[in-house]
Symmetry: C2
Subunit: 220 residues, 2 copies
DNA sequence: GTGACTTTGTGCAGGGGTTCACAAGAACGT
DNA sequence: ACGTTCTTGTGAACCCCTGCACAAAGTCAC
């Protein structure tokens, strides 16, 4: 049982990044009791081209029926499996500033199998506070969370100055997936995956495109 | 003065997306009174390869000195200009739920020239509330904000059900750059740029990579 | 002034991802 | 049973991006 029960491994990164979008669109269809969907319709709902959708799905296997389309439930199930969402993923949020508190109060996690099992902060003055009904815990609780509760994903919502330290604590405790909201470059050992989401970066990219339209210019 | 005073237009998207990172690293260097930096050092600080950094910068022009490196202040200034950050960018946040309130309280915007000039919500029961010292305004105020205050960027922090409507209101008022935090695909006319940041999507991508290491497998 | 050294800027090759075009396969009407 | 129609799955072309290798250009020591 080494390579049999596993999902396919050769899915391109760009494709993986789009699968959640497809899953979301499929879930919406299922809520409206729609049983079957064509690649064209699903692609429109997910905001991509139908060719790209089909190529992405082909990496998972052939789950469509030619001339008909895709079974909504079936395809949702396949994508769920491919993404590894059949199991629950325990999540811890580090850093109880404005953003951390907002994330702690956000209800959207549980919908998709992500369970926030702990809120932490490195500042002793914050530890013990109640946030969204939970008590804020100290960083030294991390190893136990990994061992006892299978903590797998850490969300960093600290100021950028403390992000690397928080990341190091997570990694040392055994967490191998990190979602970083601090505007900082985190260095981690091989095998640890970090995704950084930075508000300022996004706004600056928008500013670049904004000035392009603000100063229109013809080619010749 | 049509094509002269404008910055270069042929910067690849992938390159533009990295410029904010370079700018952040340069700002940190300037804070430490470092006047000059090599591509190798700056690349490390920004988490990219030195070759890629130099290629990215070459799209802006030749602002380095061979054998020496880059002048920190000068390069920061050039990137600032290229991104269009010499001017202030008025921002409005739509949707005063948990995330919207956290964004409103976030202090990181002003640091980089983004000024939050209004908080809005479509729900009359929320309009008039005080959030982070500002009064929440109704959506119908949008056109005036664009005309009177040059509102250019809209941040959508509504539930996904209301995201498209909020987006339509923004676009109709004249906003052409949108940062969307709702898990939804927004359709907009040509000339409007939307960037979507979705927590669930990010977590699901991490889950995919997490299961890869959870079920290790050798090639042969 | 000259040679050794350092670092930038870039032509070129390689790879990954997207799009195109079309073959393969399934349902349906007659 | 057969042709028409529809839709998926995929080989191939194309394009953008990244990494390599190296020439160009500057500094420094003497």
């Amino acid at each position: 049982m080494s390579a049999a029960a596993t999902t396919r491994r050769d899915i391109p990164d760009a494709s993986v990044a789009r699968l959640p979008g497809y899953l979301r669109a499929l879930t919406a269809l299922a809520r409206n009791d729609i049983a079957s969907v064509s690649s064209e319709e699903l692609a429109t709902a997910a905001g991509v081209s139908s060719t790209m959708l089909r190529k992405d799905l082909s990496h998972l296997g052939s789950y469509g029926v030619r001339g008909v389309g895709y079974d909504v439930e079936r395809l949702a199930s396949e994508i769920t499996t491919a993404l590894g969402l059949t199991q629950d993923w325990p999540v811890a949020i580090v850093g109880m500033g404005n953003l951390g508190r907002a994330l702690a109060a956000y209800r959207g996690f549980a919908e998709r199998g992500f369970r926030v099992i702990a809120l932490l902060d490195g500042d002793p003055r914050v530890v013990g506070d109640r946030v969204a009904g939970d008590v804020v815990r100290p960083m030294r609780d991390l190893p136990d969370l990994v061992v006892d509760h299978g903590l797998a994903i850490g969300v960093i919502a600290t100021p950028s100055a403390g992000a690397q330290e928080a990341c190091d604590d997570l990694v040392e405790a055994g967490v191998r997936s990190v979602l970083n909201f601090a505007p900082a470059v985190l260095s981690v050992p091989d095998g640890v995956v970090v995704r950084t989401v930075d508000l300022s970066t996004e706004l600056q990219i928008l500013a670049f495109h904004g000035q392009r339209v603000a100063a229109p210019e013809v080619v010749a």
